[in-house]
Amino acid sequence: MSEDVTGIVVPIHLDYTYTPGVAASRFLRHIAEGNYVGQRCPKCKKVYVPPRGSCPTCGVPTDEEVELKQTGTITAFCIVNIPFAGQAVECPYVSATIQLDGADIGFYHLIQEIPYDQIHIGMRVEAVWKPREEWGTTTESIAHFKPTDA
């Protein structure tokens, strides 16, 4: 009697040349210069960062660029204790949604320079940039966010 075939392994690998798009490319080039630049919707006036070139509410292009301050407010956070494949940061660490002053949408970054049990929603934070020679077209140009001194 032959054995039942209960499973097969089929390795699949696909390569892509990823294009962030015009709006996100502009955002990333601004980051490489040390600036956080969002885009404002001409209809509802909301400011999106990172911008995606359109307002998902109104469905119109967001052409106007808005330079944002590098301070903001934590709107949600999570203490990550579980390692997983491809993890870039050592556990434990804090991932947070930060709404920059002047923006209408949060984005993700790390919170450091504070004991994790003291982090709370509503906490004021500011960007801590890496040394200038490490800046590039990536949000990793910012090392993390830390509580503002004020």
Binding site: Y18, A24, R52, S54, G59, V60
Partner: protein, 330 residues
């Protein structure tokens, strides 16, 4: 049945290195709305055809909605198929009776990944995909079987390429025998959008709506060895059910030259002008090219140059699935 018509169509295709899918789609959606003076607030139902495998990004179909604006919440659906099948779903949805307008769109960036590898994944995952057969090689098997059975030659294939505006070079080598470069579609990015409207609403929105008088789609065996690749029974049945006889213009979604011949045999298009747009041999944006065929055919009614037209879309390897949409002026 409620009378549903195509009232507007817009499309763009080409090779795009800068813009992402949303940025390709947005001007197309805006243009199709401008043609009939509508905004997203006037649309009852929105349905899209895209593929996350093309973008290499899960939930890219959700991102694509940024081009429309989905707040306050809209009535919306998506098919992981060519936009022609999204149009079919929208047509069914409009039959429910409570909505009068629909937006159908498709977007695809075929150039971001290796399209031949991506398309190998639509095959049977146990015995076919592990061999990574590319769609050109599979089409070549079909073309070889077709030439052997019908006695037609590579010159007959070249004649199709020539009439679709391709530069024919019989001295060029085979990509996969018997197919040469001019027998195969270009790899294209693109987006297309159609507005559908019901009855009096359609008559308000444009002078000559392209009324859908028949629409049908059929599917054949997934396993290529289990069907006769030299003919298209599914296209024949869909065309018969949709009432394809007597059309002035037919836009056939035939990515390969021999597939146009197989479709012409199946649908029986006596005297019709075929693929005045150049069809998929000119531009073949995956997920979009089928909806483009319906839109291009409808445009001949909208501009008053034809009375009855046919748009055809295919999906899957070797014409596995076929959709036929027949439209007329009234």
């Amino acid at each position: 049945m409620r009378d549903v018509a195509v009232v507007a169509y817009s499309a763009w295709n080409g090779v795009e290195h800068e813009r992402n899918e949303v940025e390709i789609l947005m001007p197309v959606v805006r243009d199709v709305f401008d043609k009939v003076g509508l905004t997203k607030n006037d649309i009852g139902f929105t349905c899209s055809g895209t593929s996350d495998y093309l973008a290499g990004q899960p939930f890219s179909f959700v991102s694509a909605l940024d081009a429309v604006g989905a707040w306050p919440p809209i009535v919306e659906s998506h098919v992981e198929m060519d936009g022609a099948w999204a149009l079919y779903e929208a047509w069914v949805r409009l039959q429910h009776g409570d909505l009068d307008t629909a937006l159908v769109y498709a977007v695809g960036k075929s150039t971001m990944g290796d399209l031949l590898d991506v398309l190998a994944l639509q095959l049977d995952p146990y015995v076919l995909t592990p061999l990574w057969p590319d769609p050109v090689s599979l089409a070549a098997l079909q073309a070889r079987a077709y030439l052997e059975k019908t006695g037609k030659t590579e010159d007959d294939l070249a004649a199709v390429a020539e009439s679709r505006g391709r530069r024919v070079d019989r001295a060029s080598g085979y990509i996969a025998s018997p197919l040469r470069r001019h027998d195969c579609p270009p790899i294209t990015d693109g987006a297309a959008a159609v507005v559908l409207a019901v009855g009096d609403r359609a008559r308000e929105l444009c002078e000559r709506p392209a009324w859908i008088c028949g629409i049908d789609h059929r599917i054949e065996q997934h396993q290529l060895g289990a069907r006769d690749l030299t003919r298209s029974e599914s296209a024949k049945v869909a065309a018969d059910k949709a009432g394809a006889s007597g059309v002035d213009v037919a836009e056939l979604h035939a990515p390969f030259t021999h597939q146009e011949l197989i479709l012409r045999d199946a649908i029986g298009l006596n005297g019709a002008t075929i693929n005045p747009s150049g069809g998929a041999l000119k531009a073949n944006p995956l997920m979009v090219a089928g909806l483009e065929r319906i839109g291009e055919a409808a445009s001949r009614v909208l501009d008053g140059s034809a009375a009855k037209v046919l748009g055809h879309a295919t999906s899957g390897p070797c014409l596995q699935q076929n959709l036929v949409c027949v439209m007329e002026s009234r």
